[in-house]
């Protein structure tokens, strides 16, 4: 339990840090027990810089799910993805001061420039659905990383399915 809480705190701290990536969150959640040292090192300095509300908000986002996954070469939200975004919309209404960036990502099985466009389309799909659910558009930025920042390193369908994603990151 301690490990879990530490993991979430560390995740929240990392989310808040501008350079953070959701991959790091996933790694910490997955390997928190095995690698306590990096989490312990990472958490204290950033925690001090964070307001408690943001820590709570980011922690909650990690629990409800910060990401949606896409089919190959698609930017359409699946029913599962829509469910996740609906929870994110409720979360954003609960924390009206929080602003987010939606990162659009692709797997490595496409070409670079097309994937940049596809990643953006994926990020926009999440943003548009959040807006349609009543979240102010001004609180949502989007950015595409194309195939540049995979969540899971690997050349197999399991990795690719995790990398075709839209990730909501607290600014």
């Amino acid at each position: 339990m301690h490990v879990r809480i530490l993991g979430i705190l560390a995740a929240a701290a990392l989310l808040a840090a501008c350079s953070s990536t959701p991959e790091e969150v996933a790694e910490l959640k997955g390997a928190g027990g095995a690698q306590p040292a990096p989490a312990a090192q990472a958490a204290p300095p950033t925690q001090q810089a964070m307001r408690p509300a943001e820590v709570t908000a980011a922690g909650e986002l990690a629990q409800i799910g910060d990401r949606v996954l896409y089919e190959t070469d698609q930017a359409t939200l699946t029913p599962t993805a829509r469910g996740t975004v609906e929870k994110q919309a409720a979360w954003m209404k609960k924390y009206p001061r929080v602003t987010v960036t939606i990162e659009g990502h692709c797997d490595e099985r496409g070409t670079r420039e097309y994937n940049l466009a596809l990643g953006e389309r994926r990020a926009i799909a999440v943003k548009n659905y959040l807006v349609s659910l009543g979240v102010e558009a001004a609180r949502i930025k989007t950015i595409s990383y194309g195939k540049e920042r995979p969540a899971v390193v690997g050349s197999n369908e399991q990795a690719w399915s995790q990398n075709r994603r839209g990730v909501t990151v607290v600014n």
């Binding site: 070409t111 466009a117 050349s155």
Partner: protein, 516 residues
């Protein structure tokens, strides 16, 4: 015939910390005198009077046409550097020695590239090193097979008078390259080289260059280009550079830096420090500029980087992502994708006025534009038909037509690049989990796939339109590790696939034009 204008600036324009403006100004001054220089070269080239099988040593300076010595060697101060080209012309009759490179796989021509004779010290070392650079260039083209120098019978100094052609024929050499390097009283190097037809016993090319010593590598590439051109009839591509993205670190936290090197891997240096993600660099056809995508400050934007000055400049300040930049053939504009309203469209930006013009207007993805060399048409990538395919439109955005993915041709097509000759479009094709580099005609006919692997992507043309470079990423092991990304080159015929060696992993190569 042989004297394409030979022009090289003082040391490769690669020096760190040069006075940028001054260098640019000097470059322009050079260009301004080019035509004049060419005239002089043409006038001074002359045929050496030599009977087939003759044994007379070749006079380097005396003119047989009654002109003074001063006319034989055209000298000119250019930016503080003497540039001179000589003279010793080819025999007026076209030699038979020739490689026809339009016929697919050719048997490489055996060629002997001898150390350029130098009397001592610096000249000797440069002469030896230059021959190695020339030999390596020719070998990499796949069209020549340099003969092992250990088999050579005649020595470089013996060759200064006249080749004993029988000695070279005994080694099966069809062509022979000889040369000499000499330090001038003012410290410059004089480099002479001659290309010989070993069977016809004739000189095919004879040229001399004066240059600052640190420029020797570049002169070696220019000489290799001369040999290539004389024997294949096509322009060479050795006096060129490659800009690409150097990669380090794990795939999910990859550090990417712009890097530049000579086409043979020499003079490698980094242009950016890796703090910002950079992608897809492309050369200007006319200036020392590169356009590329950078995530500087977390904003994916198109930038222009000046190789001479190191200065970077964002191309316009637009609300959304700007990406997929490429220069127009005249260098006056950049075409790229903008996604101001969340959907990528193709725009052209005039680099003088900085005004942009929208060329596509479609809810689909429109990206990767590439202009034809005449500037009249643009090939680009779009999924407006449901899948990723290639389209051609007029440069004003009219008359869009699809050119890929018809009939039985399945798969997705991407990264179209118009050949510098205009006759072909190179692309990446993805079909059934395999990536291919291929070419097709601008109307979509005549598709040929040249390479295939787990991931081949992003072709770029050598300036002569004969060779393509791309990057090849290998499949990671089940534990996610072990994937590599390397640059490769391949001949337009689909032969001569080679890795282009870089210090670390590499991707997104872009071939420069011939260096002005």
């Amino acid at each position: 015939m042989i004297t394409t204008p030979i022009f090289f600036e003082s040391p490769l324009p690669l020096r760190e910390g040069g006075t940028g403006r001054g260098q640019r100004a000097a470059l322009r001054a050079n260009e301004a005198t080019k035509d004049e220089e060419q005239v002089i070269l043409d006038r001074t080239a002359y045929a050496v009077d030599m009977m087939p099988g003759g044994r007379k040593p070749l006079p380097l300076t005396p003119s047989r046409k009654g002109r003074g010595d001063g006319m034989n060697i055209a000298r000119r101060v250019v930016g503080g550097l003497f540039v001179a080209a000589l003279l010793l012309g080819a025999s007026p009759a076209r030699a038979e020695l020739r490689i026809d490179i339009t016929k697919g796989n050719v048997e490489p021509m055996p060629i002997a590239v001898t150390a350029f004779f130098g009397k001592e010290g610096q000249a000797q070392n440069v002469g030896r090193d230059m021959a190695q650079v020339v030999s390596a260039d020719l070998e990499r083209s796949g069209l020549f097979k340099p003969i092992d120098p250990r088999a050579f019978i005649q020595t470089p100094d013996q060759l200064q008078t006249q080749p004993r052609f029988a000695d070279w024929r005994a080694l099966n050499a069809q062509a022979l390259v000889t040369g000499a390097a000499e330090v001038q009283p003012d410290g410059r190097l004089k480099i002479e080289f001659r290309l010989w037809d070993a069977l016809a016993e004739q000189q095919m090319v004879g040229l001399a260059y004066f240059t600052v010593p640190q420029n020797w590598r570049r002169v070696a590439h220019i000489i290799a280009d001369q040999v290539y051109k004389r024997i294949t009839g096509e322009d060479g591509y050795f006096d060129t550079r490659i800009v690409y993205v150097s990669e380090n670190g794990p795939q999910n936290r990859r550090i990417k830096r712009l890097a530049i090197m000579d086409q043979d891997g020499a003079n490698h240096r980094f242009l950016t420090d890796g703090s910002a993600l950079v992608l897809t660099p492309r050369f200007s056809p006319t200036t020392q500029d590169i356009t590329y995508l950078s995530y500087f400050n977390g904003q994916p934007r198109v930038y222009i980087f000046n190789i001479d000055t190191g200065q970077q400049e964002v191309l316009g300040d637009f609300p959304g992502m700007t990406f997929a930049p490429r220069f127009s053939p005249d260098g006056n504009s950049v075409i790229m994708s903008l996604s101001t309203d969340g959907n990528s469209e193709i725009y052209a930006m005039d680099l003088r006025t900085r005004l942009v013009k929208r060329l596509t207007n479609h809810p689909a993805i429109d990206t990767s534009p590439s202009l034809s060399p005449d500037g009249r048409q643009i090939v680009f990538n779009s999924d407006r038909g449901g899948t990723q395919q290639l389209y051609v439109m007029d440069s004003d955005g009219r008359d869009v037509r699809r050119i890929s993915g018809f009939g039985s041709s399945k798969g997705r097509y991407a990264t179209p690049v118009w050949s510098p000759r205009g006759d072909l479009i190179a692309f990446t094709k993805i079909d059934g989990g395999t990536f291919y580099i291929g070419v097709m005609r601008p109307d979509g006919s005549g598709e040929r796939l040249l390479s295939q692997s787990f991931l081949d992507e992003g072709p770029t043309w050598a300036p002569n339109g004969r060779v393509l470079m791309f990057f090849r990423q290998t499949q990671a092991a089940p534990d996610g590790k072990g994937a590599t990304s390397r640059l490769h080159s391949i001949d337009l015929t689909g032969y001569n696939l080679r890795e282009v060696v870089t210090p670390a992993d590499g991707s997104d190569p872009a071939w420069s034009p011939l260096i002005p």
